[in-house]
């Protein structure tokens, strides 16, 4: 029914141009090359010139290859049958399972009306004190893990995924190394979570454009499940690769770059994805945890920088620990007043003291004599790092709060902590042994 075109006018990067009529913006086309079939998407229309980005890359495309416009934008199947399955960035199965074509849904659909959103109110417990006590994770939150290559961010992601109380997990991998992909698969399988997971996996060896669709596919499916009442946790790793793919296309399209080559709409593009995190009234929710690796450990790099402005906080993973400084959960205020009355005080007080410890530690390293107060801080810092910050610590929130009081009482007199007097009366351990 749709006309077939076989005259490609230009091929630059992963973008090809053809002359065609009656093509709609963002529609898909199928290109048949000697290597097989690939999808492509309309990204620019100018008179009868149509520019398309080719998902599998432009290598090996001949100027007389066949292009057939499908007459619809990107869609993805949606059904319970997807659970336990693995797909690629075009939505095609990567495992050996059957092709799913039923119930196609639109990807990158419209935004949720802000008036229909509700205030997030449910905490997701992870049993990691640096998260539960200091930066609680909340249902419908969007939170990135800022890290650098070599840090165990995917391990942290997997651990949160397995321990968090959610109905479903959707994992979107963008530019992942093959062994990382295998690691996730194994963890989910061994943790018994694969049967409630859906994986969209784009590895580093796949064509870069395909990675661009992974967040959209993952989130479109997540949104549908949420509307059906499921609490879905979406894991995206690594969003820096996603941003790099955007950059590549933008440069190919000769768009004016804004900062280090990234397109000016990087913020809007990332926001459109992250803002899919939502808690539907009377239905389920979508929570997003994403990994953003910071090139050169530089948080002012455009990708972490723009991400930080979009997401509701961030976890810094550094030297195998979640850093208390810089890490932030913006939604924690919604939930940490309903846990225990000392939760907020412990959260702020212990960090303030830890900040002083860091200063003292610097002075000590420079060879200054330590006074009595300095020694107290030094002792505190060591206890805090061992008891709270170590990633292997696996205790409930309440135990962690008790531990907080214990650590403080081992090091300080009550009035040195800056805590409210009534809390001190109630929680300060009576015997300091």
């Amino acid at each position: 029914m749709q006309k077939v075109y076989n005259k490609i006018l230009s091929i630059t990067g992963n973008v090809i141009t053809v002359k065609a009529q009656n093509v709609a913006y963002e529609d898909l086309a199928e290109i048949t090359t000697s290597r097989g079939k690939s999808l492509a998407q309309v990204i620019k229309l100018e008179n009868d010139l149509v520019s398309l980005q080719v998902f599998s890359g432009s290598q090996g495309i001949a100027t007389n290859d066949e292009i057939r416009f499908l007459g619809n934008p990107m869609r993805v199947t949606f059904s319970e049958n997807m659970l336990g399955r693995i797909f690629n960035g075009s939505g095609v199965p990567r495992d050996k399972g059957a092709h799913l074509t039923e119930n196609l849904i639109e990807v990158a659909g419209p935004a949720v009306n802000p008036a229909k959103r509700i205030i997030p109110k449910n905490m997701i417990r992870t049993n990691i004190p640096m998260i539960d006590v200091f930066n609680s994770l909340v249902v419908s939150q969007k939170l990135p893990i800022f890290s650098v290559s070599g840090e165990p961010y995917n391990q942290l992601l997997a651990r949160i995924a397995l321990q968090a109380e959610v109905d479903m997990i959707i994992l979107g991998g963008i530019g992942l190394k093959y062994d990382e992909y295998m690691y996730f698969k194994k963890e989910l399988e061994e943790g018994g979570a694969l049967s409630r997971s859906i994986i969209f996996m784009h590895t580093a060896s796949d064509p870069i454009v395909e990675g661009l669709m992974v967040p959209d596919l993952s989130l479109a499916v997540a949104e549908k499940f949420a509307l059906k009442g499921k609490n879905v946790l979406v894991l995206l790793t690594d969003m820096t690769n996603y941003a790099d793919a955007l950059k590549e296309i933008a440069i190919t399209m000769e768009m004016v770059p804004s900062n280090r080559g990234y397109p000016g709409d990087l913020y809007s593009q990332l926001a459109a994805r992250y803002e899919k995190a939502v808690d539907f009234e009377g239905a389920g929710s979508v929570t997003i945890l994403a990994v953003t690796t910071m090139p050169g450990d530089d948080v002012t790099h455009p990708v972490p920088d723009n991400t930080g402005y979009i997401t509701e906080g961030q976890f810094y993973l550094k030297n195998g620990r979640i850093e208390p400084f810089g890490s932030l959960s913006r939604l924690k205020q919604q939930v940490n007043d309903k846990t225990r009355e000392d939760h907020r005080a412990i959260m702020d007080g212990m960090i303030q003291l830890y900040a002083q410890y860091r200063e003292t530690e610097e002075k000590r390293a420079m060879g200054f004599r330590m006074n009595e107060w300095d020694n107290k801080l030094l002792k505190y810092g060591v206890n805090f790092e061992a008891g709270m910050m170590d990633l292997s610590v696996n205790i409930s929130l309440e135990d962690a709060l008790d531990l907080g009081w214990k650590i403080m009482s081992q090091c300080f007199a009550p009035e040195e902590t800056g805590m409210k007097s009534e809390l001190i009366k109630k929680f300060w351990p009576k015997d300091n042994n």
């Binding site: 913006y25 009306n113 959103r117 000016g264 900040a355 009595e372």
Partner: protein, 580 residues
């Protein structure tokens, strides 16, 4: 409505190129037809018979040759009763009404009237047949929530008119013709309770613009005392992400002593607006005794909503602010964040293939920012009343570095600068306004001399602190060390404030004066300590007492008791000093 049309000849992102054959206006609104949806767009550039239009919706599915219908009018908002308490998108579509009709998602092409046509307002005329009127004159009133809403002759009616008909007192909806006026050429014009006003044109129907002088109280100590804002003034809050810009704006929107607060959530997180949206109706405004929502308007064009509408949203907010200023009210407009608005301009400029300026922002960035802040001001209206529009904008500089175009252009035009610092927010010192870098040109609620003394201590304390990092505590004299402790004390008990606490979150001017006086006494006191650790011990105790004091309601007896405890502690150490 005109019946001019055009045809799409190019699509790239949210920019379409349209070929037209009649005449069109710059900034004219058109609708791109996509199936049964009509996508609102605005002309941003005209070249020959081609118009470049930004589409306020996703352009998915548009085709070459698709029809564009021009409206013959610039992008405008409806001004009339019924705006207060509303939640609008950047183009003044009411979001609650859209949600009722279309459900959870924002349906593309859906447009709803900004002012409800269903509600009847009780109109009381205040003019009679034969009266002379002109644009900006009041022809009657309707009650709107917390105050009497005057009905104006539209501001763009600049001639002199004779009233030929005025309806009698009664209940009417906004579409009802309530008056007719004739100009000198005997042409009759219908007046309704509302009219349209183009958002990009400031309302200037007043006698004179004055210099702002009275402080606008925000009940945040560091702002009101150290870096005040003024009624009719402008200020900006730049800061890296996570430094607490939005929380500060939320606290201000809640506690500021303004008659009307407009929150323009421009390209930021939807979740943040939701908190305001859901909480404000529940909170009572102590000034009016009614719900806080009744003095609030929310313009909500969050980051995942179409970027072109984001560009329009700050103008929509400013226009609504100017409208309420015309009624002699003090209006506070909080724009969060102006960087997102600047980015929307950048995206647009990129699609127009304009030559980029610094960081790819358009060359006209600076003048646009200046024009926006210039819409603020204290004005004397034509009837002698005063009205003010205060604009506070957050800036989200890339990488938290203030040396970037949006921050720099903003700093040139605002009257106060509240620079948030990562260093302070990391140390949980909230609000993280940097006390040494920030400034304000406006008048404080506290005595100038006391403030300059306190700032002096802060500067000196910082110097001592820097020095201590090099020479250590033992290399610092006791005298210097006490200055450092004093500056820390001031920071801890006065500059820092717990915005999540019911009492500490809002500090009235009176309370600020009492507390600041006490703080000042301590800063000026000469204590003699036998060593540094005694000094530290004393200030720790004092800090504890003060923090507890901050959490006690001023009207409780405990407030005085706590003050006495503080006085006692100070005396203890001062008398120590005397005996030595």
């Amino acid at each position: 409505m005109s019946e001019k049309t055009g045809k799409i000849v190019g699509i790239s992102g949210n920019m379409i190129t349209v070929e037209f054959d009649s005449d069109i206006i710059q900034n004219e609104v058109g609708f791109a037809v996509c199936g049964d949806e009509k996508l609102k767009s605005e002309v941003v550039k005209i070249q020959g018979n081609k118009a470049f239009m930004q589409v306020f919706e996703s352009t998915k599915g548009l085709k070459i040759g698709s029809l564009v219908e021009f409206s013959g009018e610039m992008l405008a908002v409806e001004l009339g009763p019924g705006i207060l308490g509303m939640v609008y998108d950047g183009l003044q579509n009411p979001l609650n009404e859209l949600a009722q009709i279309h459900g959870s998602f924002l349906k593309r092409g859906a447009i709803e009237a900004a002012l409800t046509r269903e509600k009847n307002w009780e109109f009381t005329p205040c003019i009679k047949d034969g009266d002379q009127v002109t644009g900006g004159d009041v022809i009657g009133h309707v009650p709107e929530g917390i105050f009497k809403h005057p009905i104006f002759v539209p501001f763009h009616y600049t001639e002199s008119y004779t009233v030929s008909f005025i309806i009698k007192k009664g209940e009417y909806n906004v579409d009802k013709v309530i008056a007719k006026v004739k100009n000198e050429r005997d042409e009759e014009l219908d007046l309704k309770m509302y009219f349209n006003w183009p958002v990009k044109i400031p309302i200037t129907s007043y006698r004179e613009k004055l210099v702002p002088k009275d402080p606008l109280v925000t009940q945040t100590r560091i702002i009101d005392t150290f870096f005040p804002i003024a009624k009719g003034g402008t200020y900006c809050i730049p800061g890296p992400f996570g430094a607490g810009k939005t929380v500060l704006q939320q606290v201000t929107s809640r506690f500021a002593e303004a008659d009307v607060v407009i929150i323009a959530a421009c390209g930021e997180r939807a979740g943040e607006v939701v908190e305001t949206l859901r909480e404000f109706p529940e909170i009572t405004d102590p000034r009016t005794g009614k719900s806080l929502m009744e003095r609030t308007i929310i313009i909500c064009n969050t980051s995942s909503m179409p970027v072109a509408a984001r560009e329009a949203s700050v103008y929509t907010a400013a226009t609504l602010g100017e409208y309420y200023r015309q009624m002699g009210l003090d209006v506070l407009l909080l724009a969060d964040s102006t960087s997102r608005w600047a980015q929307a301009m950048r995206e647009l400029s990129g699609r127009l293939e304009e030559i980029p300026g610094e960081e790819a922002f358009p060359a006209y960035l600076e003048s646009r920012i200046a024009q926006f802040y210039e819409r603020a001001g204290l004005v004397e209206l034509n009837d002698g009343k005063m009205g003010s529009l205060t604009i506070g904008g957050t800036v989200s500089p890339a990488g938290g570095n203030f040396e970037e175009p949006v921050t720099q252009s903003t700093l040139k035009v605002v009257g106060a600068f509240h620079g948030l610092s990562r260093e302070r927010s990391d140390a949980r010192r909230y609000p993280a306004i940097h006390p040494l870098e920030s400034w304000s040109k406006y008048n404080s609620i506290n005595d100038k001399k006391l403030i300059s003394n306190a700032r002096d201590i802060l500067f000196k304390g910082n110097e001592v602190h820097q020095m201590m990092l090099v020479v250590g505590e033992e290399g610092t004299s006791l005298e210097d060390f006490v200055i450092y402790l004093k500056s820390e004390f001031l920071d801890n008990v006065y500059l820092q404030q717990n915005s999540f606490d019911d009492v500490d979150g809002a500090s009235s001017p009176k309370r600020q004066q009492i507390i600041f006086k006490k703080v000042d006494e301590i800063l000026k006191s000469k204590f003699t300590f036998k060593d540094k650790s005694t000094a530290r011990h004393f200030f720790n105790q004092l800090r504890q007492l003060f923090i507890d004091w901050n959490y006690i309601d001023m009207h409780e007896d405990k407030f005085k008791e706590q003050e006495n405890k503080i006085i006692k502690l100070i005396e203890e150490y001062s008398s120590d000093a005397e005996s030595l």
